[in-house]
């Protein structure tokens, strides 16, 4: 592990490579990578055409991971994702045809278009990292990383994910419009798909990722930081600004995300800043304002929370 003062930042080249394709999205990219390292799943909420797919694909390609993409529609059935057993006459037995979920990076596009039944099938598998069909439990590959995208809920014809399901995503990020410079480069540069095809995967990408996952989980978190996280959780539960406070699972997610962020920073301990940086992404989808009509962004919610609790 690198010391705090060292300049070697793990995965710096990964981020650089990804940024050359997903232009002007350094922070979302880094959050997505942190999410991957923290062994969490990612929800991206944005309008179509913001580069969600490219981002997912880039990450998968860089680490040399298997990639599958499922476009969610209202007629998509659970079996379409998980797989189905078909009677094979040759073997005179049921043969399981694994669904697209049996991959390392799954892009679930527009997840809020599918029916709740299908959604929950996916989310259950995400949570348990295994699929149970007809009494047989089949483990999913490791690493297993789901990037779900959804259109903002205001759009019609969707089934917004219930709160309890949202909790299963470690982070929810928004990509947003690229800034002018990035947009210019986007316009000037070639098609991102072509560039993606040309992208060279990292040597031993998968192994490096798995090692990063192990190392990040072991990063030191002092008692002060645990106090800090607790104080943040307490505030969400007690201030009355939100419908419900953060769950214990949210606390664990915050911790894991902060560790991954610190890891990406090349540090061997977690600092308050790590928590503050990942806070909007980790808590944005878990905290609903007490006033349902209040439209606050994740950033604003998080800032309110951060400013209420002094750093240790």
């Amino acid at each position: 592990m690198t010391a705090a003062s060292s300049s070697t930042i793990p995965f710096a080249e990964v981020l650089a490579a990804a940024e050359s394709i997903v232009l002007g999205k350094a922070k979302p990219l880094r959050l997505a990578l942190a999410c991957l390292i923290a062994r969490g799943h990612l929800l991206i909420e944005d309008l179509p055409g913001m580069g969600k797919t490219t981002l997912a694909h880039t990450l998968a390609k860089l680490f040399g991971l298997g990639f599958a993409r499922v476009q969610f529609t209202s007629d998509l059935l659970p079996a379409d994702i998980l797989g189905v057993s078909v009677f094979d006459r040759a073997q005179s037995a049921f043969v399981f045809h694994p669904g697209p979920i049996f991959t390392e990076v799954l892009l679930a596009d527009e997840i809020n278009r599918a029916t709740p039944k299908t959604q929950s099938a996916l989310l259950e598998a995400m949570e348990e990292r295994q699929v149970s069909i007809e009494g047989v439990t089949r483990p999913l590959p490791d690493p297993f990383f789901v990037i779900a995208t959804q259109n903002p809920i205001t759009h019609l014809g969707t089934f917004p994910l219930p709160e309890s399901q949202l909790d299963r995503f470690l982070m929810k990020i928004e990509l947003g419009y690229p800034d002018r410079a990035a947009e210019r480069r986007l316009l000037a540069g070639g098609d991102s798909r072509q560039k993606l095809a040309l992208l060279a995967p990292l040597a031993e990408g998968k192994e490096r990722l798995q090692r990063a996952q192990r190392e990040a989980a072991a990063i030191h978190v002092g008692a002060l930081l645990l106090d800090y996280i607790q104080a943040l959780l307490d505030f969400t539960r007690q201030s009355g600004a939100w419908q419900t406070g953060l769950s214990p699972r949210a606390g664990l997610s915050l911790l894991a995300a902060a560790r991954a962020w610190a890891y990406l920073d090349g540090r061997d301990f977690v600092m308050p800043e790590d928590i503050q940086v990942v806070l909007p992404a980790v808590t944005g989808h878990r905290l609903l304002p007490a006033n349902p009509l209040e439209r606050t962004s994740s950033e604003e919610t998080a800032r309110r929370l951060i400013e209420a609790v002094p750093v240790p």
């Binding site: 705090a4 308050p272 750093v311």
Partner: protein, 642 residues
């Protein structure tokens, strides 16, 4: 603040406080006041026990007014000390009946404090102190009880014990170093003198016998070389006037010439610690030569202080074992020959028969009479009638020292020898534990002095003829079997005697170190600490500075225990202070790196330095960096100048 009604347990606590502080004092009051106080307390206890309603405020006020009137008739004033104490004894229990809220409860507590204090006017023994301390503790516990009635008693006791332990140093500082102002501040009311047993300015048959049963200590003596016990005559009032029944002091006169001291007298140096007796006289050993500067010696060798002895008093004296020779004025000698006309005719007749003899032989003749007359020394003499000396000499023949002394002086005067009664103390108990002599009221004594022309005053103690043991041993040995004996004087077992000696030693120590800690003593002690100019103004400065130091120390420990800053945090704070002077400070929620980034924008040329400090601090505080990093941080912060 005090709107809330007091709980039942708080009221019970107030009652206990009142009872504890009232009991010792009320018992010393006139009987009816003690009875009234006790009745009121008992009544309140009954109301409390059976949860009966309290009487109306108006009724209580009326009662208190009536009581005040009664006290006025008893004392003819309401403002004297005694009357004031009586009023307090009445008001405290009365206040209980109007106590419903915390404010009134506080009144009870403050009144109790006054009563506890008032008890010390008459009694400053260790026992009284212990009782008072206990009462004060109960009063404090009751105060907190009024504040937190739900809390159990044990928790109150624990909190109070802790508080007392914490305040012990401050108490000691105050007691030892707070300048003692020598009192009194204003004239003492006359009635402050009542209630203390001891010698009086007059003597009637039986007045000393009352004292003989009192174990109260009159004074303590420490000798340089102890004279023999039979020579221990401590001189008190000299009584020269006789009206047939009562002996009184004569007014002081000028002495025609200073007394001549024998060429080589046996000198005795000693120190007397005198219990306050509210009279002016001191009690030096016969015959005083050197006396304290604030005292003077009368013509009759009686020594008086300028002011009444109200507090424990310690004086050095020097006495001669042989009487000095004095010229005595004729009026004095005349005074000492005077007898009321027609009183004690048989005595006068007997004495008249001795007149042809030379003076010294007349004395012998009188002593002979005592020696052979079959006289009995007793504390229970039969009552005497009009011609008291006649009856004693020729009929009852039973008496106490004042009977012997008075009869002897009458005999002498009738025989034309000038004579007078001297009262004082004789003997005492030697305590081997601390080598002091304790002289008690029981050692009060009366003897006679006769004037032999050419020789001066000679001491004659006729009691010694009837009961020689009185001089050599003590009262008990001198008394016939069957007479009542003072408790402490009873012949006990050896262990009891030892115990008694220890107790006396304790009392003496108490007197020397607690009660005797006066302005003088304080000055002596401070001088030992190098404060030669023990002026009280210096002391005030000294005390003020000391108190300020002590309080700030206490405040500092109280506050500094809170933020337990680790060393890294201290350095970081120092760093922040430097930036704050230039107007850059982190928000409470801002982490060190985030702040460093902000500060770096402000001081771009210092960016690397700032970031390094922030990283080191973060690593120390949140990470696992060790001593080396701390040292690096220290150097970085000290070398940082924005």
């Amino acid at each position: 603040m005090t709107e809330t009604a007091l709980s039942r347990t708080s009221l019970g606590g107030l009652w206990v406080t009142a009872a504890l502080s009232l009991a010792p004092l009320a018992l010393a009051q006139p009987r009816w006041i003690a009875f009234l106080s006790a009745t009121l307390l008992a009544l309140y206890a009954l109301l409390w026990l059976y949860r009966l309603p309290l009487p109306s405020r108006r009724l209580v006020n009326a009662l208190a007014l009536a009581g005040s009137l009664a006290i006025f008739f008893e004392y003819r004033t309401l403002f004297g000390l005694r009357a004031g104490l009586a009023l307090l004894c009445l008001f405290l229990p009365a206040q209980l009946f109007v106590t419903r809220r915390r404010r009134e409860g506080l009144t009870v507590i403050l009144l109790s404090w006054f009563l506890i204090l008032a008890r010390f006017i008459d009694d400053q023994t260790p026992t009284a102190a212990a009782l008072a301390f206990f009462a004060a503790l109960v009063s404090l516990a009751t105060l907190s009880r009024c504040l937190a009635p739900a809390l159990e008693l044990r928790a109150h006791a624990r909190a109070l014990a802790l508080l007392c332990a914490q305040s012990a140093p401050l108490f000691l500082v105050l007691f030892l170093f707070m300048p003692r102002v020598p009192g009194p501040l204003w004239g003492l009311p006359q009635d402050a003198r009542k209630g203390v047993s001891g010698l009086a300015e007059e003597m009637t048959p039986g007045s000393l016998a009352e004292l003989a049963l009192s174990e109260a200590v009159a004074f303590r003596v420490r000798f340089a070389q102890t004279p023999p016990r039979h020579a221990l005559y401590f001189r008190g009032p000299v009584l020269e006037r006789f009206d047939g029944r009562t002996w009184r002091m004569a007014p002081a006169r000028e002495r025609p010439a200073p007394p001549l001291i024998a060429s080589s007298p046996d000198l005795i140096d000693y120190e007397i610690t005198l219990e306050p007796h509210r009279q002016r006289w001191l009690l030096p050993l016969d015959w005083p030569l050197e006396i304290p500067p604030d005292a003077h010696m009368r013509h009759d060798f009686h020594v008086e202080a300028k002011q009444a002895v109200l507090a424990l008093r310690r004086d050095r004296f020097r006495s001669a074992s042989t009487p000095p020779f004095v010229e005595e004025a004729t009026e004095v000698l005349q005074e000492n020959l005077r007898l009321p006309l027609g009183s004690n005719p048989r005595t006068q007749a007997l004495a008249a028969s001795w007149r042809p003899l030379p003076p010294a032989q007349r004395v012998e003749a009188a002593l002979d009479h005592f020696r052979r007359g079959g006289f009995v020394y007793t504390l229970r003499p039969p009552p005497l009638g009009e011609h008291s000396v006649d009856e004693f000499l020729f009929e009852t023949r039973r008496g106490f020292c004042e009977h012997f002394a008075a009869a002897f002086v009458v005999l002498m005067r009738a025989a034309d020898v000038p004579a007078r009664v001297v009262t004082g103390y004789q003997g005492g108990s030697h305590n081997p534990i601390d080598d002091t002599w304790v002289v008690r009221q029981a050692d009060a004594h009366a003897w006679a002095e006769v004037w032999i022309a050419g020789a001066g005053w000679r001491r004659v103690d006729p009691t010694a003829l009837a009961a020689p043991q009185r001089l050599e041993a003590d009262l008990v040995a001198a008394l016939p079997v069957g007479d009542p004996v003072p408790l402490f004087a009873r012949a006990g077992f050896d262990w009891l005697r030892t115990l008694r000696f220890h107790w006396w030693a304790l009392q003496n120590g108490w007197n020397q170190w607690v009660l005797g800690y006066t302005a003088d003593r304080q000055r002596q002690m401070l001088a030992r600490f190098g404060l030669q100019e023990g002026d009280w103004r210096h002391l005030v400065w000294f005390l003020g500075i000391g108190a300020a130091l002590a309080l700030s120390l206490l405040a500092w420990t109280a506050s500094s225990r809170k933020p337990r800053l680790d060393p890294a945090q201290r350095l970081w704070r120092a760093f922040l202070r430097r930036l704050a002077r230039k107007g850059e400070a982190p928000a409470p929620w801002e982490g060190p790196l985030a702040f460093a980034k902000r500060a770096a924008l402000r001081w771009p040329e210092k960016a690397a330095e700032i970031e390094r400090i922030a990283r080191l601090y973060a690593g120390l505080r949140y990470g696992k960096l060790g001593e080396e990093a701390l040292e690096a941080l220290r150097r970085a912060v000290l070398g940082f100048h924005p």
